[in-house]
Symmetry: C2
């Protein structure tokens, strides 16, 4: 057993403690500061060069890929912490997001959604997998190399950004602030798979209008709920059509490569009235090899075609794009970064990693398309429980991923002469 592995075994308790405290800070949108404070303290202990700032919305607004419903990022700090190399090596961004999605229906959680409790080798709480376990893996990787006296040639740029779940304003801000590197790793919850290809995604809002009437003479009205279902079926057909054409082998084991998810539905004002308005909001996947604009156009055309079959819908549907947007991205399978990560995985596990295309978007799209930074997504979290009640992460995987990332850093950035 080598020194690196031994270090991770010794530090397991410390790693769990850091993750537990991080999960207990409920860092939903606008509430990121206290979780970031824990990150900042850890980076300070690691003697990294800290850069802490609140993204400036006026500057971000000028960028075509900025989307956010927020009007200010005050009290929502971004954190970047640099471990400077000695020079002459490839640089590496280690990107993670501090924000988590809401807990959803609290009655479906067995314990408090931010408990951080540990049971049977798992740590529970919203954000454990998506993606605080990944954040901790990054910090432990840096700590491990430092503890073993290893200095790297290339810079390591650790990032803990806001707003990943809502469109990427945090990572975009870091790119616009000037942070670049020869490669990037994002430990989103991939079940330890390597994702060299990123799905993009868009948030849509579809408003369907009806005609109100008394519920007792409902035939005098037009139910926006019934009309909304016609729209839902149309989206189901669109999803089927878009996925039938996906033939990328990296998606071979993914049931629905680029899904269309309807996340919320709201309509009607009174039980005794025919509902005159229903609003659907959801998320549309964008394939790695298509543009955001192509995906938008296809949905628009599907709804127009629906209008041709249903006269009412022709003038009573509105489509908008709002909120979060993730750019797709693609790394060729021969890329050195993928080779580095594959070798690091083999070094720790003794077997080859599974390489697939990501079922969801990440800030990797921004890093790739705006920063021109080759990016791989790989992390210890469990995909199936992200955004789900009773989210958890396997603690052993956190340490395994940390060890793999440490090896990747050695290989990518190069080790300085003592």
């Amino acid at each position: 057993m080598n020194d690196l592995h031994r270090w991770f075994i010794k530090q397991k308790k410390g790693g769990i403690e850091l993750l537990r405290r991080l999960v207990q800070e409920a860092s939903t949108q606008t509430n990121e500061a206290t979780a970031q404070a824990l990150i900042i303290e850890k980076c300070r202990q690691l003697q990294l060069e800290l850069d802490i700032w609140e993204p400036e919305i006026e500057q971000l607004k000028k960028h075509p890929y900025f989307v956010s419903a927020r009007t200010s990022f005050r009290h929502s700090p971004n954190v970047v912490a640099v471990w400077k190399g000695t020079g002459g090596g490839r640089s590496l961004i280690l990107n993670s997001h501090i924000d988590v999605v809401p807990e959803g229906d609290v009655t479906q959680w067995a314990a408090d959604p931010y408990s951080g409790k540990v049971e049977d080798g798992k740590l529970y709480g919203r954000g454990a997998s998506d993606m605080k376990g990944g954040t901790v893996a990054l910090l432990l990787a840096i700590e491990a190399l430092q503890a073993l006296g290893i200095r790297l040639k290339g810079d390591v740029i650790f990032q803990s950004v806001i707003e990943e779940e809502s469109g990427g304003a945090g990572t975009l801000a870091a790119i616009l602030r000037g942070y670049r590197a020869d490669g990037a790793i994002i430990p989103e919850p991939t079940d330890m798979k390597l994702f060299p290809k990123q799905q993009g995604s868009l948030w849509f809002r579809i408003t369907v209008r009806g005609k109100s009437a008394h519920g007792g003479t409902r035939y005098e009205g037009v139910s926006a709920i019934e009309k909304a279902w016609t729209v839902v079926r149309c989206l189901q057909q669109l999803e089927t059509k878009r996925n039938e054409r996906i033939d990328d082998p990296l998606y071979a084991h993914v049931p629905i490569p680029i899904p269309i998810n309807i996340g919320t539905i709201r309509g009607g004002t009174w039980p005794s009235s025919v509902p005159d308005c229903v609003v659907l909001e959801g998320r549309m996947g964008v394939a790695p090899n298509e543009t955001i604009e192509q995906a938008k156009q296809e949905m628009k055309e599907a709804l127009c075609a629906l209008g041709e079959q249903d006269a009412w819908l022709q003038s009573n549907i509105e489509l908008e794009w709002f909120g979060a947007q993730w750019l797709p991205s693609s790394l060729e399978v021969t890329h050195p970064l993928l080779q580095t990560m594959t070798k690091a995985y083999r070094q720790v596990k003794g077997e080859d990693p599974i390489i697939e295309a990501a079922p969801w978007g990440t800030d990797g799209g921004l890093l790739t398309q705006v920063g021109a930074i080759p990016t791989i997504v790989f992390g210890p979290g469990t995909t199936a429980v992200a955004h789900y009640p009773n989210e958890y992460i396997d603690i052993d995987r956190v340490l395994e991923a940390a060890e793999m990332i440490a090896y990747a850093m050695i290989d990518w950035c190069g080790v300085a002469e003592r």
Copy 2:
């Protein structure tokens, strides 16, 4: 042209003014007091014996037919005003409700929903048809007889109650306070048709649970929106089945005699998450010849049967009955009250009235089943615009209905010797 008719022509302007002011008081649930103040003043001018009280919720709660989401009726007064007869004649309740439903989607109204504006012989505003036009018709009928020096033998009991739109607590309170009569007329908006049969109705809430997951891997979850649609289709089939068995000739011209209307839908919390909970609220019609309990049982059975076809739904649907409930009721077509009203109609219009079964519930169910008071629903409002944007009432109909009710009062209560 006789004296009564001449009086109505002369008083048209005053009638419009009273209705306009009444409509301009937005008397939605809990906001009834200012509209009632106008009623009280008019009754005072008519020298009626006023009884004004706030229904007592602890007393009402004891009654099996009390349903209300409210915890208090403070500041929501009921008004009863009696025009005592000289004795020896049949008594008549003239029942109306002061409360109105919400205005719905304001963007669908051409003017302010409480404008009371008059245009082309119509008066506009929420409540004009349902049912302030009816209330004004009752008051004008009393005023007309008084103006012509006519004294009646039987008592006339005018009522302006709260909560008709939300389950009948106002009329129930009046019945429990002791108000009885040999007959009752309720001028809800019937397009001048006579309704001797009342539909009942119930408010239901159906909660459908799903399983949350990330929208990018939506196949790992169960969409409560998709499952809710299975429930909606089940309710559509139930409605078809229940209406196929309606063979009452009074329903011959009604497209859907006892509809099931889904009024509101709410579900999901985040566009990027599979929705784990959807709540449907709506109104179920109850036929005049069935009980509330039978209707409830039939819906329960339909949802259980659905559970047998869909394993997920078997343990993930909840059905509740809440809020408003209207009892059905039925008056045989040979009843003297119907004959009185028919004669009164003929006297004014010179032709027979249309006699049908009501497409919606009214407080007539309570008057009939709790008060044992034979009840007819007949009024000047336009059914199709009740609960609808741009609600209005035809002013000439208000006066026509008032004249008919005046004749009905003469015939039913009898005229005292001078």
